[in-house]
């Protein structure tokens, strides 16, 4: 069964460093998403991406964040200068379409720890 994959599973970085979190969505899906979940807190929407551009982003997704689909398979989230409060589990998700076809499939997550 096709699935969303994410790498690495755990990333440890120093405050101020740049990190890139990688995701491979399901191959025929068209919509891609990033979410984060701070330990013990709720899942928070970051950004959605369609047709090679951001279609929606939340207040959390400020200038420190960027997303890219550098080739036909990867979908990346870059955090330019990490802060302690960026420590969280980051989930990538993809869906085949929008509206009624919006069943999102989540990847296993990348746990980001900022020291």
């Amino acid at each position: 069964e096709p699935e969303v994959t994410q790498t690495p599973s755990h990333q440890v970085t120093q405050m101020g460093q740049e990190v890139i979190l990688r995701c491979v969505p399901i191959s025929n899906h068209l919509y891609f998403y990033w979410y984060r979940q701070i330990l013990g807190q709720k899942v928070e929407f970051l950004v959605s991406f369609y047709n090679n551009e951001i279609s929606e982003k939340s207040e959390i997704f400020d200038d420190q964040f960027s997303v890219e689909r550098p080739d036909g398979s990867n979908f990346t989230l870059k955090i330019r200068s990490t802060k302690l409060e960026d420590s969280a589990m980051y989930f990538c998700a993809s869906s085949p379409g929008a509206g009624l076809y919006n069943e999102q499939f989540f990847g296993p997550g990348t746990r980001l720890t900022v020291l």
Binding site: Y35, F45, E56, G99, Q104, F106
Partner: protein, 111 residues
Amino acid sequence: EDKVVQSPLSLVVHEGDTVTLNCSYEVTNFRSLLWYKQEKKAPTFLFMLTSSGIEKKSGRLSSILDKKELFSILNITATQTGDSAIYLCAVENNYGQNFVFGPGTRLSVLP
């Protein structure tokens, strides 16, 4: 501000019990409501609801939406220990693929 509230936040039951989880929401332009089950890591999709009054069913799980009263319930009958998880409710607003998640209900099913 868009908001999703879930209750209870935590629930402990015994195997065989039936549970009802609640989700209420306030969003600017409602598009759909989704239920997810989160065990150790990533949420897994359960249901997507877009219309009022139409029950969606999958095995022992069922869900229904009331767009007038702005809430949804998730029912689990004959609970099993494998149902222990956090159940997340999320609402999509109509401005795009923007999803607001509730805090989740942590369900523990004891043998």
